[in-house]
């Protein structure tokens, strides 16, 4: 019962949607249920999901990062041009890309926090400047694919495993990145980010170095884009259009996962589930034979409907009393549940409170 209620709640809505979409895909294409196919599906989701993890930290702190897509393109082209056909350059170039990613995040964060420029504008400017610089450097054309050892990260994997047969590296990278992300949300940094998104001034008065906390969120976001770029080099190759629009896909995924734009509320696992939902949606539209021209339209309708649904359910619960107590794994939602429990005494006087789930 409790599980069902969580599924219908805004927090669980994204998982419900994911299950519905995957079941629909399996009905239309029974082959999809094979473990190998599911692994391929996760491999396709991995770059988007990793970017969404980065975007989660920025959005939950009440900011935006629009520079992710450009950063992916830039990193992909950097990899293509610097690695070339020389296997020995793989590791140094990887290190360079990580440093570049952290540096871009640092600039985004410092401009936002110290110069007080809205992050929407900072990252928009960064998006234009970064893409322009990289295209200017390469003359608008990308040169060749990097060495195979570099591309293996995105396209290779462990073969001949018992059940799944093939475990792509990108699935492992996604799992590690998600685990790191969950760990970070339990650390002071993750809690402070949510606190800043909820009420920046109160967090500052309580002694947090908010500029450094927010800056680190931008660095995580840029680093995630870098990891995603490494996967995409192997998966999609080197092209100036790789990564285009990823920032909007990531923001959409995060919002589908119930993270509130403006900050202060959200769960990282749900944000990743949002990325899975988006990819499942593409898959379903593909299998269902929806004309490719109409796919954008269907996607738009479903995004609006999903966000509207979770918003409506959330508000109706706020009105009707405290919701089901969150399951233990949902610690990061602390400000959320605190807000709800503070509302309950007022409602208790009117006898509206329902005791559910205890």
């Amino acid at each position: 019962m409790r599980f069902l209620k969580t599924l219908v709640s805004p927090r669980g809505a994204v998982f419900l949607l994911l299950v519905i979409l995957l079941v629909a895909v399996m009905v239309l294409n029974p082959n999809f249920a094979e473990p190998g196919q599911i692994m391929r599906y996760i491999q396709r989701v991995a770059p988007v999901a990793i970017v969404a993890i980065g975007q989660y930290f920025v959005i939950v702190a009440g900011e935006f990062d629009l520079s992710q897509g450009s950063l992916i393109t830039a990193q992909v082209i950097v990899a293509g041009n610097l690695v070339g056909q020389d296997d020995s350059r793989t590791v140094p170039v990887l290190a360079l890309m990580v440093v570049l990613g952290l540096f871009i995040g640092l600039i985004n964060g410092l401009l936002t926090t110290l110069l007080k420029v809205p992050s929407f504008i900072v990252t928009l400017g960064m998006m234009l400047a970064l893409l322009g610089l990289v295209l200017w450097w390469t003359g608008g054309a990308a040169t060749g694919n990097p060495a195979d050892s570099f591309r293996q990260i995105g396209r290779g994997g462990i073969r001949d495993l018992p059940i799944v047969d093939f475990l792509p590296w990108s699935v492992l990278v996604l799992a590690v990145w998600l685990a790191l992300g969950i760990w970070l949300t339990k650390r002071p940094l993750g809690k402070l980010l949510i606190a800043i998104g909820d009420n920046a001034r109160a967090t500052r008065y309580s002694g947090a170095r908010d500029w450094w906390v927010t800056t680190r969120a931008f660095m995580i976001s840029s680093l995630s884009a870098t990891v995603s770029a490494v996967l995409l080099v192997g998966y999609a190759g080197v092209h100036p259009s790789v990564g285009r629009g990823y920032e909007f896909v990531a923001i959409t995924a995060v919002v589908l996962g119930g993270v509130v734009l403006g900050g202060g509320r959200g769960w990282i696992v749900a944000a990743v589930a949002g990325a899975f939902v988006l990819e499942a949606l593409f898959l379903l539209l593909n299998i269902a034979g929806v004309p490719s021209t109409l796919r954008d339209a269907v996607q738009g309708v479903i995004i609006i409907a999903a966000v509207a649904y979770s918003g409506l359910v959330f508000r109706s619960r706020r009105r009707s009393g405290p919701p089901t107590s969150p399951s233990p794994g949902k610690e990061p939602d602390a400000p959320d549940s605190a807000e709800e429990s503070s509302a309950s005494p007022a409602l208790a006087g009117e006898g509206v409170t329902q005791n559910r789930g205890d």
Binding site: L66, L111, L115, K116, V117, P118, F120, I121, V122, L124, G125, M126, M127, L128, A129, L130, L131, G132, L133, L135, W136, G140, F248, I251, T252, V255, L261, G262, P291, S292, T293, L294, R295, D296, A297, V298, Q299, G300, V301, I303, I304, V307, A308, G311, L312, R315
Partner: protein
């Protein structure tokens, strides 16, 4: 008698003058004149399309929302306009009205999703943009329709060095300024954008102003599309996306000192922001800067210009009373009620004093 206040519009003007000065010097170094009528016409022409989009975007951002669908509205408007006219001058009025009605309907949908379904404006308009993209892809494979010469004249002629399109844009900016500063809807839009909850508790119906802002924003995007149609002569389904108008218009609005969080800003600041973009673009074209480097310069200019006044207090709070105030009426009522209010507060004070004096007298200790 009022002290001259340095608000963001003044800063924008300052940045604009600085940009023009630097631009004029740079242009002079390559032996061209920045202030030649031809060049001024180029700049003003460059302002008009982005200016129209940005005026609409200002309204939406003042209401603490965003409109990312304008790019697709522009593309849709240029296609509907061009196919409805179909080269026949007699169709022009009908085509313009029809196009703007379609755009208004899109704006209405945006507004309703944002206000009734309470979906964040960013996501709502992103979704509507995707839907429009699907509609465009399904119905139009390439360039379509043709624009009669009579309509193309709007984009081609000018009064002296000033193009007609810029005059239209400025006239509409004056209208929007009037709407924002002199009408109830405008005042309510500021209130709703500043804090919807406070606005609601003050008796403002929070939905109509925001819906109106979204409708107007889409109509302005439609006008921009029609203007592009008159320049290009045909309808092209990708013209909006190529221009990147959604993000650039938001940048121009913020450049003009309007708060992204809503509630403060002005349409004149936005025009200033658009002018800064146009001047920078023009200088780079004259100097034949590499097109990719142009984007780099644009990005740096956006961030740098906003940084100049983000350090200071942004737009000062608008004065509530007097000229330009947020109050739109009821002065006479307030004046009439003043004596009654004073009497009431006197009575309350007297009551409080009596209540205080009571226990004190009883206790005998003070």
């Amino acid at each position: 008698m009022r002290r001259f206040r340095v608000d963001s519009t003044v800063i924008v003007l300052g940045i604009l003058i600085l940009v023009i000065a630097v631009g004029a010097i740079l242009v002079a170094t390559v032996g061209r004149s920045f202030f030649s009528p031809g060049n001024i016409r180029d700049i003003l022409t460059g302002m008009s399309v982005l200016g129209l989009v940005a005026i609409g975007q200002t309204l939406v951002i003042l209401g603490a929302s965003l409109d990312l669908s304008v790019t697709y509205v522009i593309s849709l408007a240029i296609l509907i306009g061009a196919t409805t006219m179909n080269g026949n001058p007699a169709n022009i009025p009908w085509a313009v009205v029809f196009t703007l009605l379609v755009c208004a309907a899109i704006g209405l949908v945006n507004g309703l999703i944002v206000t009734v379904l309470k979906v964040n404006g960013f996501i709502a308009t992103l979704g509507v943009g995707l839907i429009l993209q699907g509609v465009l892809n399904t119905n139009f494979q390439g360039s379509a329709g043709s624009v009669p010469w009579a309509f193309q004249l709007i984009g081609a002629t000018g009064v002296g060095p000033i193009p007609v399109s810029t005059i239209i844009m400025i006239a509409l900016a004056v209208l929007v300024w009037f709407l924002l500063d002199r009408t109830r809807t405008g005042a309510h839009l500021f209130a709703v954008g500043g804090d919807p909850e406070v606005a609601r508790l003050s008796g403002v119906r929070t939905r109509p102003p925001l819906i109106a802002a979204h409708v107007l924003c889409s109509v302005f995007a439609g006008l921009a599309g029609l203007l592009l149609a008159s320049r290009l002569g045909v309808g092209s389904p990708t013209v909006g996306q190529q221009g990147g108008y959604a993000l650039l218009s938001i940048a121009a609005v913020v450049l003009g000192g309007t708060l992204l969080l809503g509630g403060r800003g002005s349409v004149w600041g936005t025009i200033g922001g658009v002018a800064i973009f146009a001047v920078v673009d023009n200088v780079m074209s004259v100097m034949q800067v590499n097109p990719f480097l142009k984007d780099v310069v644009r990005g740096v200019v956006i961030v740098a210009a906003v940084a100049v006044y983000s350090r200071r207090a942004i737009v000062r709070r608008r004065s509530r009373f007097g000229p330009g105030g947020t109050r739109t009426g009821g002065d006479a009522t307030a004046a009439a009620a003043a004596p009654a209010m004073v009497a009431a507060s006197r009575a309350l004070e007297a009551e409080a004093e009596a209540a205080e004096a009571g226990p004190a007298a009883q206790g005998g200790v003070r």
